[in-house]
């Protein structure tokens, strides 16, 4: 139960980190290239710690590398949002912003978890998430309230990504038990805070939240969009081709 909950958080960090690392060497300017890869490294660090902890909780002798590189698509529990391809810069920024606003409020709640390891990891990540959110919310405002073209691209990104936002707050019955036990973060509270932040920033950015639309749910139980398989093929290739490779 806790194992699966840890995978949800770890996988979202891992997959988002991989997506951001795809920008390495391709950022629009040197400074942003480095900013995105800095964030990717923060997320990777969190994924690493959480997968280590998950492996320990599972108690079957698997390592964090086994969990990252030897699971299949349906055994990953990352959010739909995190696996979406980078698109243009506005798309990447919007995807990160929606995610970072979640992370910020999520870790704020998780800090008070009765699970001491989770609480400690949450406090550490909250500092990083605070910066990530600051970085992406200023970019959302800059692009949304920028030129006609940047506004249009950012609005389009928001329209395309919005249907994946409810998915971040999806919970299984096991999650609900963990929430009741004070171990997992209460996603109802996270959602209310997330909506507040997102509404505020998007309104400053002169962007319109899409009117009530279809919301795609399912990643919490291991369902994915068609993009995750390709991402895993690339991410896991080396480890599968050279099992146990070290550097």
């Amino acid at each position: 139960m806790l194992f699966n909950y840890l995978l949800r958080i770890a996988d979202t960090n891992l997959i988002m980190s991989h997506r951001l690392s795809e920008w390495c060497g391709h950022g629009p300017v040197l400074e942003e290239d480095l900013a995105l890869t800095n964030t990717a490294l923060d997320l990777m660090g969190m994924a690493n710690s959480l997968l280590q902890y998950a492996a320990k909780v599972e108690g079957k002798g698997r390592t964090e590398d086994d969990l990252a590189f030897l699971r299949r698509e349906r055994e990953f529990f990352n959010t739909y949002l995190s696996e979406q391809p980078n698109g243009d810069y506005a798309f990447t920024i919007m995807r990160s912003f929606l995610h970072d606003a979640f992370d910020f409020h999520f870790y704020t709640q998780l800090q008070t978890s009765k699970d001491e390891t989770l609480a400690a990891l949450a406090s550490k990540s909250l500092k990083e998430a605070t910066y990530h959110l600051r970085h992406t919310s200023t970019w959302v405002q800059r692009l949304g309230d920028g030129t006609e073209e940047s506004h249009q691209r950012t609005q389009k990104a928001l329209n395309e990504l919005w249907r994946f936002t409810d998915d971040m707050f999806d919970t299984t019955d096991d999650d609900k038990k963990l929430i009741a036990d004070g171990i997992a973060a209460d996603l109802q509270i996270v959602k209310a805070n997330w909506q507040k932040t997102v509404t505020e920033v998007l309104s400053k950015a002169t962007l319109q939240i899409p009117a009530a639309a279809f919301m795609q749910l399912g990643s919490r139980t291991g369902k994915h969009t068609e993009y995750l398989g390709y991402l895993l093929a690339e991410m896991q290739h080396l480890h599968r081709a050279y099992p146990g490779a070290k550097w």
């Binding site: 942003e32 480095l34 900013a35």
Partner: protein, 96 residues
């Protein structure tokens, strides 16, 4: 410069510890001051280099020119009495 879309140049100053001076460490491109500050943070403090940052538009820095060399700096060459080498400093003073 008309094709340059990376923004204006900003000079970055990092303070390594509270109480120490902010030292120039390089520059970044940015379109506004918040972006300049964030870019400076991402480029120059990622290995624990600092506790405080300043960014200043490069265009706002007034600099002496090479022609000033003689008039500005050479007159100090023969004024050794301006160096604090003629008296003993207390041990506690470490940042002279």
């Amino acid at each position: 410069m008309s094709n340059d879309t990376q923004g204006a140049l900003w000079e970055v100053f990092v303070q390594t510890k509270p109480g120490q001076p902010h030292k120039h460490c390089g520059s970044v491109h940015a379109h506004d001051k918040e972006m300049a500050l964030q870019n400076a943070r991402d480029l120059y403090t990622r290995r624990n280099e600092g506790t405080s940052l300043w960014v200043i538009p490069s265009s706002q820095i007034i600099s002496s020119s090479p022609e000033d060399l003689g008039a500005f700096f050479e007159p100090a060459n023969d004024k050794i009495f301006r160096h604090p080498t003629f008296y003993v400093l207390p041990k506690e003073i470490t940042h002279m």
